[in-house]
Assembly symmetry: D2
Homo-oligomer: 362 residues x 4
């Protein structure tokens, strides 16, 4: 169960960071949908390590292989299996740590759970597992775009102390090329420079930085999401917090809602052609767990990468105090590379809810 | 699907706010667990409207009826069906609104989804549905307490602009009676008074207030939670955001993590008897989606109640501008009553993960 | 998990045979479907004990109560909770057996599973649980009939040694009133008399009889059922064998297929207006797990009721040999009363697959 | 959903018959279980076409590749991905049929479902998909054997008119090498010769034969299986009927139960050391859906292979009458090769129920 997500559009991921490869099986995508391998690959490139001076210098060259489910570029309605082989395996990098649970990593809790650890690397807790999500998410995104015109765009809105806010209009017009205009994937060029500087400073100090990614899903029809448990926003919270290092989720007004009054926060309606729209969008496009036709926007907070070069005083599994200095390859800030992961998880969520909604339209 | 939660310990809720009643079926609770109806009822009383001067004056007298699954106070291993009949039904209260979708309510999005609305009240989107969750959650909590000693305590940590912070030690020693010492369910007496004043002011102004509820789960063994998708923290995010009016979720450091460096945020280990513990708990008791034996703590942001007496300029379904003045019974601030709902959802999440963990201990 | 069935149209049952009541929660039925309580009740009457001289003389007077999900006779798209209270509780009837596991009952295996038994009656293994299935199944059937014109008719085709075969044409024209024309629910009047005589003879001998129920589902559109695992026929097998006392399932040619050659068994196609139909229907209306537009027909074998008045030499839980004489109320043959259960389970299966098929028609 | 099976021990299959490959992801296998690739391969060899003179002469050389989930031969508790690449692809073999739905194949119903067909071969309806099940089933079987000592043995008990019956004692002592002693996989040497002759006769006549496979699961502890829906026998019925060409399922006495009286059919108890056992086993090792500690035995009826060389008068998709002569490679009788498939599906069912039972043993 723990490696699958979705009720109708269902994704299962597999693979360890240092095994043969990682992959995903996407079951439940309708037949006859055009899927481009290039678009999948493009999202993988955005997640790839080594793509800029801000990320680790590994060149993984992650090439996606489509094992099943497509014929002549169209889905068959059968499971779409996707795989990326691991190439640049250097298990030795992590070997010194075998008896030391890395602080704020999953080493200790995994051992408590399974009584066994993958010998090297992070196993399933590794960020490399997210490759599979990005590949599957691209299939979902292509389906959503062709069937409903849905657009999903995420960007880095905070790195360490540097915050950036976009107006509703700016969010409405944002494109992926705006986001990719800077290596840090922040569409505000000035803030992007400050973020880049902050990351480079952290790298110099063998430290790391956290941040926030924001995301908008545009043109989602009203009516998606299920009442009570599988609310659109609850599922978004679930998938976003399932991304490694995520610590917080906020829809629309988020934690600011706590300080507002009802009269200020309520999104009143106005006529919009034959339909209604809301004057404001503090709800973030979701009311009662169901999309209301407005842009769905949310933010995800990420902690600083726990692998740092700076020495840390911690304990090994026997309780002996040790000084740990991370030597493995790692990013000082994962935010830029996490942008396509956030987009992928949003796409997987929306694709499933889109198909679950069909049933009400008999 | 949308009305069920859990893989092994599975809860299904039913009932509209103004129908015959609301209830829950809890399937998958192990046999032989002692369940007290009084404890279920006690949590319902904490959620009940009309319990203090801060809440709506309705006296629902919600009495839980146990329809199945228990014999002589012990679970049989069969589904435990719980029901609370609706008594104080006054559908007329809402009749004026039939052609006006209430701002920031689910009226509009439900109509877009189903093409039909429950004639009166909020249907499944009503806060009354949470009665079923509280009843089911109490069963989960009793199971967790007797089988593992787990303790779950939530409290109001913010109302409008009034914030309150507890130290780790204070959280460690917090009890439910500390929380219930004030009507606002904030264990800091001074802050509680400020919160109460803020709520009363909002009530006078026919307005409403949001806030934040914090929660700690103590004595959760290390090893609970699944990797990748059904992470403990991801499931908590999911169930918390599924509570009506929730807008944000934060585990441990939450959004503050965004501004911290790795060296400051990492929870280093120290010897703790035969085990390890962490010196700090920015992780909030969960690493890689799996409990690490430290207290699990998280916060949930709630928006201000959208039903307000203050006139609002909005539109009816035909797009005509109207002035809406809420006349139905409602709370100016739901936070105090939402405390047992947060506890219930945490309990349902942990009970399921506890049972899913059994399988690894062959 | 074990008390729920379905992916989109999902039914959860609850209730012990001798507790407060039994019931079902039907989640996922589309909004706006007309549901008649009388039709639910009518199917319960056909399942009811004491309805004829062939069944146990208990008068349970099972009246279904609809707790949620309907307003003005239409579904709201929310969970439909149905309950039948237990009235005629006589736990004493079973008390003598407390230390003796009844042969071919679930007493022994339940104790091995749970380490605890419901004090009286069969708990969840009791045939009374099927009440909940019949009520839920009637909702599914009404949905299928109004949305697709689907008709489901089951009948008793064998009791002990008395077998009855209908031609394809007879099956095509069969109605429920034909089935209900005899107390044994066999539409062949002569065979019905022989069956009745066989049951009466078994009753006189304090013994019991098994038999076979056959069922046809007409006007099921081609395309329902999922490939690989949730095949239409696999799900039918699953739900039918989940009925207490069921021992075998056969689709179309069933076990006779084993003795046939491919050229005899293949259902070749002929033109049928704008579509195709098959000349024969050995496939039973399902090919590759998916309906092909022909009538779906299948049979279910039931063992003789294990509760018999005839003395049996068996052992108590301590291994001591005992003579057991059943004194509880029981039927000598459950087949006539199981007809609506088979129909209900077929309806629940088809309703779910109908809704799962919607998603392919974007 | 349709490509996954299991609640805790969960298998997802993927792959078309003529695409890149077929495979399975097994999620939920406990950590630390020793898994031998050779044992997986051995079961694939038993399913392989071209293994004897009775089967099609293709040499697929299906080699399983383990993509994830194992390290040093032990499971990590993470998803185990298995793949077999397709090598001997000859799509041309099937090209003549593109406008003719093959009788009693899935061509027609798939087209009705999806509105699209895999261009060549049977897509997901192909028997080749069962490769993935056999590979996954072997993992389940190895887990069951090492953790519980469970043994699963299937054999061919009927081919066309040739039937074979084993006594309870013979079933108790049966081994896989007994089964594999003949190419037809019938452990009765004389009957095996008759079966072989019948198959060879069918081959000569360009026809095909059906049959029955029987199976026993030994040393299954009492207590496995869930009440109401996920009964052990109901799940077995489900997985067995999900095998291509399966038409009937019978547990223990099966359809014979219909002709027996209760006093003859009841399995009375006798002391067996510290436990009880039953004198007879008409129940087939399952009572009330839960294992009772006796051998679990069941039978599955298979129809004759629908692909035959003999000319058939049928219709193309346009309704025009055509004469179809199958030219593709095919077996005259699939029974011998289906033996490991039946074993695999039984293993997947039992592994899941074994892990679901853990939770009751707090």
């Amino acid at each position: 169960m723990s490696s699958s997500f979705g009720t109708i559009f269902k994704t299962t991921t597999f693979g360890e960071s240092h095994g043969t490869g990682v992959g995903a099986v996407v079951d439940g995508c309708p037949a006859g949908v055009k899927i481009s391998r290039d678009e999948i690959q493009a999202q993988l490139e955005r997640r790839r390590p080594g793509q800029s001076r801000l990320t680790t210098p590994r060149k993984e060259g992650d090439q996606v292989e489509i094992l099943s489910g497509l014929e002549n570029g169209l889905t068959l309605g059968t499971p779409i299996a996707l795989m990326v082989r691991n190439r640049n395996q250097k298990p030795g990098d992590y070997s010194q740590m075998s008896n030391i649970p890395r602080p704020s990593h999953a080493d200790y809790s995994y051992r408590m759970k399974y009584g066994i650890n993958s010998q090297s690397g992070g196993g399933r807790a590794s960020a490399r597992e997210t490759l599979a999500r990005v590949a599957a998410g691209s299939v979902a995104e292509q389906f959503l775009k062709s069937a409903f015109g849905v657009e999903i765009i995420a960007w880095v809105s905070q790195v360490g102390p540097v915050e950036m806010v976009l107006s509703d209009t700016e969010v409405e017009n944002l494109s992926r090329s705006d986001v990719d205009a800077t290596v840090v994937r922040c569409p505000d060029l000035q803030k992007a420079e400050l973020m880049t500087a902050a990351i480079e400073k952290a790298a110099t100090e063998k430290n790391s930085l956290g941040g926030v990614i924001s995301c908008v899903c545009r043109r989602v029809p009203a009516g998606w999401g299920e009442p009570v448990f599988d609310k659109l926003d609850a599922l978004l919270a679930y998938v976003m917090i399932s991304i490694p290092a995520a610590k917080g989720f906020a829809l629309g007004s988020g934690f600011n809602a706590a300080t507002m009054t009802g009269s200020a926060h309520n999104d009143c309606f106005v006529k919009d052609g034959a339909k209604l729209k809301t004057k404001t969008n503090f709800s973030g496009g979701v009311q009662g767990g169901i999309s209301n036709g407005q842009p769905i926007n949310f933010s995800v907070a990420f902690k600083p990468v726990p692998t740092i070069g700076k020495p840390q005083k911690t304990a090994d599994y026997d309780g002996c105090e040790v000084i740990l200095e991370g030597k493995g390859r790692h990013d000082p800030c994962v935010l830029p590379r996490a942008v396509p992961i956030v987009e992928a998880m949003a796409a997987l969520t929306l694709a499933d809810l889109a198909l679950r909604q069909q049933r009400s339209n008999l």
